[in-house]
């Protein structure tokens, strides 16, 4: 089988004299969705992306065998990935004083890092300050969607109305009924694989061809059912049937080995923003793309107090430019969007644009990770080899705490991601004791018998967990950097203890031999699910945005990424980011048409 590689229509020339209908800052899940929706309404849009446009086919080389690469996929000497130990014992900026040529976040410590070293940022150019935080950033067209884990989950009213259930924090200014039609639109436009389970706390999507389970995963699914818990095939943001309306993406062919590197899919069966959203938007003729444009400030008209455009720095040359728009749509990622709002100080907005509440940067939340379990399905030892990773993903165990019961030790919940069976590299080999023929046979015999899972728990949104601008440290472009004031709290610690215990119980109940129960909580930031630095709400004193992600203070500024989320829930956020952005951009286009912006 082969694929025709299609190049998209040339983008219109960037025109910095004109006033676009909208300037979109960022090109990831949120920015891409904004570009798609706004251009579909006929608006002329300029998208600013800080990084380059990379040819993903030549970057990812998804089907290159390890032995076809001179270092078996590893980065060249002098390129260093930060370790858990470095994140914990040192303080940011982690690359300061390093003797390595380039320093990357921890995801580059996985196998196959040579394929993603141009996708994630070099920490030397992008320092940050404050408390320990494992911040993973990708500056290129499409941002982190180029390597995301692609677990695509919906939130429910258990999340949107969590305060009404347990009294903590704030409810979202929307309910599931408001966003459900937009989840449907995202499902149909981008494609998602999964299995219907009819769970009120994890609503089903409009699934394409279902994802599958390995034998040990079926064992666990059947066992969990007796505990009134669910194991469902990974809800993958992957098109398994193909998308007739999108010529840039292929359906998934279960090629396997998807997890051997930081991520990425060079046939674009897995969603990424460029092929899923941006190239089709360019084909409308309404989208202009300016890459290498590092946004530095949202410009304000002093007479009206409204935004008039964006000041940016050319990432390569360092020269300054201005782009102008009737509306500014901020989609630079949760932390970068907060940074940009705080950087945009003016006489009308002395604390940063849209920050009269003082909440920008605050209520910062995410998912806590680390606790998990590894077990052995003994009935599979020594069985003939099967292909177990030739599918879009492995499995997900949705939350089960604080649904109808009330846990005495913590509020909110966690879910597990896991997998079983053979992979291209037998991870267990290094830890299999001994050497010689016995060792070799054991590695071979046990390869299909391992199963493991790890938790993702909700970190409570707290005002005192926040980011601001460091008073002295600047990045390579002379722009003040983020300073973290962020720590897990007591609720997260207690939740993590329960996560490890529950994981062990579930594996024991399924008859797996327990090999390891991990209780180590990974450094803040590890989940790459940062959320909530410019939250939505109906009260302008305690929130930054209204229910349409529109600034309470400045009507023509919208912040459409994860920064708008009121809580983290425990479900992976990307699908919700895109559904919300779609809803808000429909509203934006309508309001602009009515002359209300």
């Amino acid at each position: 089988m082969s694929f025709i590689r299609i190049t998209q229509a040339a983008t219109p020339e960037v025109d910095l004299q004109t006033t676009y209908d909208a300037v979109v800052i960022g090109s990831g899940a949120a920015g891409g969705m904004a570009a798609h929706v706004l251009t579909s309404h006929g608006m002329k849009v300029l998208m600013l992306e800080a990084g380059k446009k990379l040819d993903m086919n030549s970057e990812l080389k998804s089907m290159e065998w390890p032995y076809e690469h001179p270092r078996r996929g590893a980065m060249p000497p002098g390129h260093h990935a930060l370790s858990l130990n470095e994140y914990n014992i040192r303080k940011p900026p982690y690359a300061a004083g390093s003797s390595f040529k380039s320093v990357y976040s921890y995801v580059q410590g996985w196998g196959g890092s040579d394929y993603s070293k141009n996708i994630v940022v070099d920490e030397k150019n992008h320092p940050y300050a404050g408390t320990n935080y494992a911040w993973v950033r990708a500056r290129l067209l499409g941002g982190k969607t180029n390597i995301w884990g692609r677990l695509a989950l919906r939130l429910s009213d258990y999340d949107f109305k969590a305060k009404s259930r347990d009294g903590y924090g704030e409810d979202w200014p929307i309910s599931y009924a408001d966003i459900a039609p937009y989840y449907d639109k995202v499902d149909l436009y981008l494609g998602i694989s999964g299995v219907k389970e009819n769970l009120p706390y994890l609503p089903d999507s409009l699934f394409q061809r279902p994802n599958t389970l390995a034998p040990a995963e079926v064992t666990l699914r059947n066992s969990l059912r007796k505990m009134n818990r669910v194991l469902t095939p990974y809800r993958a943001g992957v098109t398994t049937d193909g998308l007739k309306h999108n010529k840039y993406r292929s359906r998934c062919f279960g090629r396997g080995a998807c997890s051997r590197r930081a991520g990425g899919c060079d046939i674009h069966a897995a969603f990424d923003s460029p092929t899923g959203l941006i190239y089709p938007a360019m084909d409308t003729g309404n989208l202009t793309l300016r890459t290498n444009a590092t946004a530095r400030e949202i410009l304000v008209d002093p007479k009206t107090g409204k935004a008039r455009g964006v000041a940016f720095v050319d990432t390569d040359s360092g020269r300054s430019y201005e782009a102008h728009g009737k509306v500014v749509v901020v989609a630079a990622s949760t932390l970068e969007s907060a940074r940009l709002l705080l950087l945009s100080k003016s006489t009308t907005h002395p604390n940063g644009i849209g920050n009269s509440s003082g909440h920008v940067g605050h209520n910062f939340c995410e998912h806590v990770m680390g606790p998990g379990v590894t077990g052995l399905a003994k009935d599979l030892i020594g069985k003939p080899r099967t292909l177990d990773d030739g599918r879009p993903g492995n499995f997900y165990v949705p939350r089960f705490r604080n649904l109808s019961d009330k846990n005495p030790n913590f509020i909110r919940a966690y879910g597990f991601e896991g997998g079983a069976g053979t992979q291209i590299f037998p991870e267990h080999a290094t830890d299999t004791p001994g050497f010689g023929t016995g060792f070799k046979k054991k590695v071979r015999d046990y390869a299909g018998a391992y199963i493991s899972m790890g938790g993702f728990g909700e970190v409570l949104s707290r005002f005192e967990n926040y980011v601001d601008l460091d008073p002295s440290l600047k990045d390579r472009w002379g722009i003040p950097v983020i300073r973290f004031h962020y720590k897990f709290g007591d609720n997260e610690k207690k939740m993590c203890e329960d996560m490890a215990n529950a994981a062990q119980e579930m594996f024991e109940a399924a008859g797996f031999e327990i090999l390891d129960v991990s209780r180590t909580v990974l450094t803040e930031g590890w989940s790459i699910h940062e959320l909530g630095t410019a939250r939505m709400g109906s009260d302008p004193k305690t929130s930054v945005l209204n229910q349409f992600q529109q600034s309470h203070d400045v009507k023509n500024v919208f912040v459409v990424d994860g920064s708008s989320h009121v809580n983290a829930s425990c479900q992976n956020p990307t699908w919700t980011i895109m559904a919300l952005a779609w809803r808000s951009c429909d509203y934006l286009a309508s309001e602009l048409g009515k002359g209300n912006l």
Binding site: T212, L387, G390, F435, K440
Partner: protein
Amino acid sequence: MSDHDNDLSRREAIKLGAAATVAASLGVGDAAAQVRVGGFFTEAEFALLDELSEMIIPTDDHSPGARAAKVAAFIDARLAEAWEQKDRTDWRSGLALVDRLSQEAHKLPFMKASPEQRLAVLTRMAQNESNPQKPEEKFFKELKSRVVYAYYTSEIGIKQEMEYKGNTYQSEFAGIDVSQQ
């Protein structure tokens, strides 16, 4: 999963299994000592590393071992270009330590010792693998870790030893469809 799907995957499994058998019979796993190009180690060090790697993952009746998979050459090439000089000095002293242990126990350098004597030295190094304390125990852990990585990322390791069936286009996903259950 329908019966039809079961049939299909079984047929594919048989086909792929046959391909692996053919590769093995073509002698891809020639066990002769390898000729080296460039690298960091001296000839003697390289021969020692080659022997140690083959002892850790030997040729057996299932597939060729570390020597055929050119594990020593991969480790040697990586060390030659390693960013930190310490990696090279640690490996050089680690290999010297193997000879020293052999001298102490058997009055012979490792490569002159008998297979039983070599096994005794490596067995001593491999004790406390889960919690290495002595220099030779720590070196064994490093040695094994690199040998394992090099072997199981080699073509022999992936295709012949582990019979990995992925990294190929498939009409159906691997695994069990539970959507109707």
